[in-house]
Symmetry: C2
Subunit: 156 residues, 2 copies
């Protein structure tokens, strides 16, 4: 029970774009190198994120990716579900009729509750709040930038 | 992000044994048929549950499976983790050093919080409480037994 690599990379990509700010274009190579994402995999993930409306793809030599909205309006839940699919923990929660126990199953209620809690926690985490926490942690951004080149967004 | 079939079947198996009561032996065939679990798969899952100490395997012609403790002392968390592995949502939560962002990553904290909530919810669900809820739902146990033969434990 864990997040797929696609989900992990999607979160990193959106964290980087959020750090650049709404509307700033970053090339695929730049995002991939900064966040340690295989470039071809990133291309695939960006398509999914674009379809979900959380990332814009710009074609052409000066193209790349950009955040189409304020990072305060973008949540971890949206990015995780856009890239790794809907969170449901157990089939019975979103597929009525998949289990013959459904009619009288007490475990179903526990999964339902756990899913609601998990989604609420991820919904509360906006990318703006995540970035704020990262910049609080970064007491010495220059030193960190030297240690992990490119890992910190330009605007941090 | 969902429970494996092994986890799902393990929960069903333990629910059935809990309904029989602590120490009552049920054959593998009985459990498999009652809960819709492929018998060979159940044999494998029972080995895992046995190693984790939540199920006892009795060999011989009158052998089978039994619950070695009070269902009030058995939690959904134990059964899920015994069969499907530790719940961690994202690698970084239990594998320090697996991600170069770990030092200053704000998303890590969200995964950590989500994991704690999820595990707490599953820990609070004892098999005794699950059975109580099922028996409340079963307003007409005889009718339900006829509709789904074997699905309701003998003691319900």
């Amino acid at each position: 029970m864990r997040l797929s690599m696609a989900g992990e990379y999607a979160v990193r990509c959106m964290l980087y774009l959020s750090a650049q700010g709404e509307g700033t274009v970053a090339s695929r190579r730049e995002v991939a190198q900064a966040m340690g994402i295989p470039e071809q995999f990133l291309a695939k993930i960006a398509q999914q994120l674009s379809r979900a409306g959380v990332l814009q793809i710009l074609q052409g030599p000066r193209g790349g990716y950009r955040l189409p909205r304020d990072p305060r309006q973008l949540t971890l839940l949206e990015v995780v579900e856009a890239s790794a699919g809907e969170i449901f923990l157990n089939d019975c929660v979103i597929k009525p009729g998949c289990c013959r126990r459904a009619e009288h199953c007490s475990v179903h209620n526990v999964w339902q509750k756990a899913r609601t809690q998990l989604r609420d926690t991820l919904r509360k985490a906006t990318f703006a709040s995540l970035l704020r926490q990262e910049s609080c942690l970064l007491a010495h951004p220059r030193r960190l930038r030297e240690k992990h080149p490119g890992i910190v967004g330009k605007n941090l």
